[in-house]
């Protein structure tokens, strides 16, 4: 998929440049791409390294478990019919916590564990699976560290200033997603 996108971008750029008279710029840009990638990766290493370290402290000290406990009423409110302390419940809570704290590597395996557990449930199965997937397709990250890294590499004076807007925007979009998903299954045919 992404291979096709890259090829189409390159081919389109080249053909477009013939008509636009920018072929020389396109040729010059080829040598810059890799250089830009290196600069970007260095900033990513720095900022992601910092947050990876901090969030590992959060995991080891039990802070993550504390956040999971705080999330529990919200999870039970959104996912109707799951048992507190059950397999599906635990995986969902840990998946959402991992997303919130930006533990990308941990979030996906936990999410997969959660959908598999939800598939075994008998109450509201399809609806709860949809809800979990929708929540995972909406970003709910406390610290947008990758974005901060890119902003830093381009000389932003305040790489983290976007946090309030990101959090509000995420909150509104995840709420819209959850409400719509619930509406989709509101006609009583929710297995």
């Amino acid at each position: 998929m992404i291979g096709y996108i890259i090829f189409i971008l390159m081919m389109f750029s080249l053909v477009f440049s013939f008509f636009n008279g920018t072929t020389e710029q396109v040729c010059l840009s080829v040598s810059e791409g890799a250089d830009n990638a290196l600069k970007l990766s260095l900033s990513l290493c720095a900022v992601m390294g910092l947050w990876g370290g901090i969030m590992r402290i959060a995991q080891k000290s039990g802070f993550t478990a504390l956040v999971a406990k705080l999330l529990s009423p919200i999870v039970l409110f959104i996912f109707k019919g799951i048992k507190r302390g059950g397999e599906a419940y635990n995986a969902i809570v840990m998946n959402i916590t991992a997303n919130l704290l930006g533990l990308g590597n941990a979030a996906t395996p936990l999410g997969l564990q959660a959908v598999k557990a939800l598939e075994k449930e008998s109450v509201n199965r399809n609806r709860n699976i949809s809800l979990l997937v929708v929540i995972n397709t909406a970003s709910i990250q406390l610290i947008p560290s990758t974005v901060a890294a890119i902003r830093l590499s381009h000389g932003s004076a305040h790489p983290y200033e976007i946090i309030p807007a990101v959090l509000l925007s995420s909150l509104v979009s995840v709420t819209v997603g959850v409400i719509l998903a619930k509406l989709m299954y509101s006609r009583g045919d929710n297995v």
Partner: protein, 170 residues
């Protein structure tokens, strides 16, 4: 709320919590940082490829041409035309979106309105279609519109809110 202060408070609070709970915060930090460095290093090769393609697109002048043609429409709703490529690629490819954001921020200063809107868009949305594919490949249930429609609606809401909240808050 100040974003920088929020980030610093989280760092300090987590370290304090770790010390109270008698965690070896120094070795925990090193471990976690090392893991993330590996992740950053892992996406480096794909970034080379993607940034080359996106750089070619930028150099061809196609983005400006489309933005110029549509600017009357976009300026009416307060949407910066430069963010259009990000909206198009965001839900399909995460590293592709990273490359496009990098390109947008090299043309617009990250602290400008356009730079901020692009940053908030990237931070408040996800690689929706990729995520849906991964989750539904793990179970027997078929993916239907009942999942896709809310997910896409959430994305669109995220893009609209990004423009709105940057203009209102920052």
């Amino acid at each position: 709320m100040n974003g920088e202060l929020f980030a610093v408070l989280i760092i300090v609070f987590i370290c304090l919590y770790g010390l109270i709970k008698k965690t070896d915060i120094f070795s925990a930090f090193n471990e976690g940082a090392k893991d993330n460095l590996k992740t950053a290093f892992d996406i480096f090769p794909s970034l080379i490829f993607l940034l080359t393609a996106v750089g070619m697109l930028r150099a061809s002048g196609a983005i400006e041409a489309v933005a110029d043609k549509l600017s009357f429409l976009f300026s009416a709703i307060g949407f910066p035309a430069d963010c259009l490529p990000l909206v198009l690629i965001r839900s399909v490819s995460g590293s592709g979106a990273l490359a496009v954001l990098d390109d947008i921020l090299s043309k617009n200063h990250p602290d400008s309105i356009t730079g901020r809107i692009a940053s908030v868009m990237m931070g408040s949305t996800e690689t929706t279609f990729y995520t849906i594919a991964v989750y539904f490949s793990a179970i027997r249930l078929k993916c239907t519109g009942r999942t896709v429609i809310p997910a896409v609606a959430a994305d669109i809401t995220g893009f609209v809110c990004s423009v709105l909240f940057v203009r209102l808050l920052l």
